[in-house]
Structure formats: structure tokens, C-alpha cells
């Protein structure tokens, strides 16, 4: 009875994934990685956050089908 229509999950990343991505990026920046946005007077955290907002961070997550994270971006459930 359940119709198989594709419904995107309301978020791209879970809050844990978001935290992890931003955290890693902020660490890179803090250690001297090239920054992808313009502007001065910001700390690594703010830069990482803005980069994430603008979808510039070249990092994504790997999801395992057998792991805890099982939802794809658009998934049946």
C-alpha cells in the first residue's frame, strides 16, 4: 500500500555531520590552510561556518549502509 515516492530528507546533513565537517575545516584553517572566502578579521571557526553556509568546503561524509547513518539524501523510509 505504501507508495514508493522519493521524499528528500529535510536536511542534507545530520547535526553531527555538520559539526564534524565544520570542526575539521576549522582545524585545517587554524593550521594554515588556504581560505576559500574573502574577508578579514575572522577566526577559523567563523570562516569554516561561512564556508559551510556557502557550500564551499570540499569535504563530505561517507555513509555506510550497515552503519548507524543509513539515510541517503533522498531515501525511502
Amino acid at each position: 500500500m505504501v507508495s514508493k515516492i522519493k521524499q528528500p530528507f529535510p536536511f542534507e546533513y545530520t547535526r553531527f555531520e555538520k559539526a564534524r565537517i565544520i570542526g575539521s575545516r576549522a582545524l585545517q584553517i587554524a593550521m594554515g590552510a588556504p581560505v576559500l572566502i574573502k574577508g578579514t578579521g575572522k577566526g577559523p571557526m567563523e570562516i569554516a561556518l561561512e564556508e559551510f553556509e556557502r557550500n564551499l568546503i570540499p569535504i563530505t561524509v561517507k555513509r555506510k549502509s550497515e552503519g548507524f547513518v543509513w539515510l541517503q539524501k533522498s531515501d525511502y523510509f
Binding site: I5, F16, R20, I59, F68, W70
Partner: protein, 378 residues
């Protein structure tokens, strides 16, 4: 088929929620367009209430049950509940449920009757007599006659009538169970024994323990009228036997002995019983715990198809990790046994990784990062 079905089936939400929404929609008789809007909003609300992958659901459940649990009465509290039946409540009862005791301290049954028997008090009494365990002392005075080496059973006519038993029935029952001769003598029953004092006393003890009618485990039956129906409440429980008694509506009969439900009705029924009993125990104490926390507990208890307790002999004791088991109870025994067997710990769970000081597979710890080569514009 309702006209709202097609609207609701567009959304992958649980059937129970669909039914609820449908009922409300039918009550309000809204148009299909409005129904679509409602379904959309409900779906959004449903999604925001979902747990995110990686969240520590078990720990949240443990805290959510544990925190109000501190306010429960520590004492074994009995109260005169439904019709003067004692019920274990509060913390002791909750422990009983989670430990899956085979013999809970206060087993109870609520027996509803078939239509034929439910409306009439005498008919209900009839069923009650078939269920309630009747001993010889309930219906007669029993004496030993040492001079003639016989037991004299002085039957009480009134009690017999109330229990709907005849003298002949009792005579046959005693004769069959004790394998001795029983004769009727002006309203009394004479149980004959071998000419030995010891045998006579043994016989006397056996006679006192003999269940003449009803089910052994059911110690007391109380008949109460609720709405226009007579309901039986019993002290003691035996679901299997009660279900076979004539006049009992098995589909509406319940017991608070979870293990019995598991044996008679199966694992799914046991899961529902665990949830129901735990929720009602907490609610009775005025504590509100979300049902989903308790459902998680019930699920872990029943996931393997058998009812396991939370503890050494169940969920915690069957963990595959040695360190997790050792961290729970009987540390030395667990480690020693594991060493003797040459076991390996795969370090796949939470507890063992905390012990060895590694990130755990929960929340941010469960996220694996990889490089993204394409840059998508938002």
C-alpha cells in the same frame, strides 16, 4: 476506502499516524485540497520529530526513565486497589517488569466474559466458580477420627450451594485423587485410610491441599460490575488454563504476568505487555515518560524473539564484548572466563571503546569524512 487515502499515501509516514489524521479529516469533512495541505504539514512535523541518525537514543531513554524513577517510592507499596486486591506498585513493580520475573509478587488477571455470561450475576458467579481454586476447608470442616482411623468431612450445605458443587462430585474427586475409599454417611463424607496413624496424617495433609474445583493458581475471584457487564478480577494468574474455561472471553482477558503472556501469546504480545505494564506503573506514580523510551526498552528485551531481562542474565549479560560485560557486573569472573577461552574483543560497541579511550561510534564520532571533488552551487 476513504477519499483521503490517496492524499495520505503520498507520504511515507507510519500507518498509525495515517489512521489518526484520517479520522480527524473525516470528522471535519474537509476538501481534498485542504487535506493535502494538512498531510503536508503533518509530514513536516513528523520529520522534525524523527531522531537523527547517530543520536544516542538508548542513553536518552535511560535518562528519561531514570530521572522520574528517582522520585518513585522505594518501599514495597501495596494498596487496596480494584476491589481490595493487593498490587505491587512503584519501583518494585518496575524492577519486576524489567527483570522478567517468572513469578511476580502479585499476579492478577482481569477476565471478561462472553456475552452469554457477562450480563447476569449468577452466570458470572458460575464462571467464577469454575476459575477460583476451591479447597476442602472452604466448603467443609475436616476432622480426623483417630479411634476409627478415618477422616470425617463435615460438608457445609450453604457453601456447597454457593460453589455449585454436589456431594457426589466431591466424593468422586477425593476418591480419584487420594486413591482411597470414600463413603457418604448422612451428609458427611468419611475418608477411609489404612490402619496406620502416619498414613492417616499424610492423607489428611493431602486432602487439605487438594483442589476440588477451579484452577490452582487462582486464589481469589472478585466479581465487579462495570457499565452493564460483570468482570472478574482474580488474585493469581494462569492465562493458559483460564482461556479454556467456558464463558471466558479470551480475547478480552488480560494478566499482569508478562512471562505468561510471552508463553501463551508470543513475543509481540509480550512486547506490548512490557510497554503497557511499565507505562501504567509509571503513570500510577504520577510520572510521565514518553512511550517511545519504554518502547525502546521493550524492543531490546524482545528483539531476539525471546523475552530477555535487562541485566546479568539477559541483555547486559549477552553482549558480545568482554569489556562491556565486565564493566557491568561480575568483572573478575567475566575477564577470567574470557581469558580461559581466549576470547577476542572486537571493540565495536560503545562501552569497550570508552574503556580503551577511543572515539565512540555515536554522534560526531560516527561520521566519516571524505574529500568532495565537485563543488555544487547552492
Amino acid at each position: 476506502m476513504s477519499k483521503y487515502d490517496s492524499v495520505l499515501n503520498k507520504y511515507p509516514i507510519p500507518d498509525t499516524i495515517k489512521v489518526e489524521i484520517k479520522e480527524k479529516l473525516e470528522e471535519l469533512k474537509v476538501t481534498k485540497k485542504v487535506a493535502g495541505e494538512v498531510a503536508e504539514r503533518c509530514y513536516r512535523a513528523y520529520l522534525t520529530n524523527l531522531m537523527e541518525p547517530g543520536e544516542a537514543a538508548g542513553i536518552v531513554a535511560a535518562q528519561s526513565i531514570g530521572e522520574p524513577g528517582t522520585q518513585m517510592t522505594m518501599r514495597t507499596f501495596h494498596y487496596a486497589g480494584v476491589a481490595e486486591i493487593d498490587v505491587t506498585l512503584g519501583l518494585p513493580r518496575l524492577i519486576e517488569i524489567l527483570d522478567v520475573r517468572k513469578n511476580p509478587s502479585t499476579p492478577l488477571m482481569t477476565i471478561r466474559l462472553t456475552e452469554e455470561y457477562a450480563k447476569d450475576r449468577n452466570k458470572a458467579r458460575e464462571v467464577a466458580n469454575r476459575i477460583e481454586a476451591t479447597y476442602i476447608v472452604d466448603i467443609a470442616d475436616v476432622e480426623t477420627d483417630i479411634r476409627n482411623l478415618v477422616i470425617v468431612v463435615n460438608l457445609d450445605e450453604k457453601a456447597l450451594k454457593r460453589k455449585q458443587l454436589t456431594i457426589d462430585e466431591i466424593r468422586k474427586k477425593i476418591e480419584k485423587s487420594l486413591k482411597t475409599e470414600v463413603v457418604e454417611e448422612n451428609g458427611n463424607l468419611i475418608v477411609k485410610s489404612e490402619p496406620s496413624y502416619k498414613v492417616l496424617m499424610d492423607l489428611f495433609d493431602k486432602l487439605k491441599k487438594l483442589v476440588l474445583a477451579g484452577i490452582k493458581e487462582i486464589r481469589r475471584v472478585i466479581i465487579r460490575k462495570e457499565d452493564d457487564e460483570y468482570i472478574l478480577y482474580t488474585e493469581g494468574s494462569n492465562l493458559k488454563k483460564v482461556s479454556k474455561v467456558k464463558g471466558v472471553d479470551f480475547t478480552r482477558t488480560i494478566t499482569n504476568n508478562i512471562y505468561e503472556i510471552y508463553e501463551v501469546l508470543g513475543i509481540e504480545a509480550a512486547r506490548n505487555a512490557v510497554i503497557e505494564e511499565a507505562i501504567s506503573t509509571l503513570e500510577e506514580q504520577g510520572l510521565e515518560v514518553d512511550i517511545r523510551h519504554i518502547m525502546l526498552v521493550a524492543d531490546t528485551m524482545t528483539a531476539d524473539g525471546e523475552l530477555k531481562q535487562i541485566g546479568r542474565h539477559g541483555v547486559a549479560g549477552e553482549k558480545q564484548s568482554i569489556l562491556a560485560r565486565a564493566a557491568f557486573e561480575m568483572t573478575v569472573n567475566n575477564l577470567l572466563d574470557a581469558a580461559v577461552r581466549g576470547d577476542r574483543d572486537r571493540l565495536s560497541g560503545i562501552t569497550e571503546n570508552i574503556i580503551v579511550g577511543q572515539p565512540i561510534k555515536l554522534g560526531t564520532g560516527d561520521v566519516e569524512l571524505i574529500t568532495r571533488y565537485t563543488r555544487t552551487k547552492k
